[in-house]
Assembly symmetry: C2
Homo-oligomer: 78 residues x 2
């Protein structure tokens, strides 16, 4: 399982994206465990994505979007 990327942890773009993912997840009443399971992403990695610790790539983002039932575009606030 990937360790937090110290270089990127806390990057404002990642923190904003992670916050958006968390807000969508919570609005749908889903747990981190269930979204991680459905998306096939490691649970603690997913938690780190929500905290803005990982410079997550598009294919994992797509998996998360599908698990949340939204489009990739929806993960990004304007």
């Amino acid at each position: 399982m990937a360790k937090p990327s110290p270089t990127h942890a806390g990057n404002p773009v990642l923190v904003k994206l992670g916050g958006s993912i968390k807000a969508i997840r919570e609005a749908k009443g889903l747990s981190q465990e269930s979204v991680a399971l459905v998306s096939g992403i490691d649970r603690s990695y997913f938690g780190g994505v929500e905290r803005g610790e990982y410079n997550v790539a598009v294919i994992n983002l797509e998996k998360i979007a599908v698990a949340l039932g939204v489009s990739l575009k929806d993960l990004f606030k304007k």
Copy 2:
């Protein structure tokens, strides 16, 4: 410079995103060279992103969006 990721090259999500980036770039009359230069991304890597060859991560996408003068959200079609 990263070699094309055979695992991901041609992935529909990446091809769609790359096509969207290319369409925005061309609509603004920008060259790959100029966008790569402004975003600080290797020119041939950027070409590969447009062709859907790389599973590009968020921070590079943000750099590309800034260089194109759009938001991250705008890079993703609905």
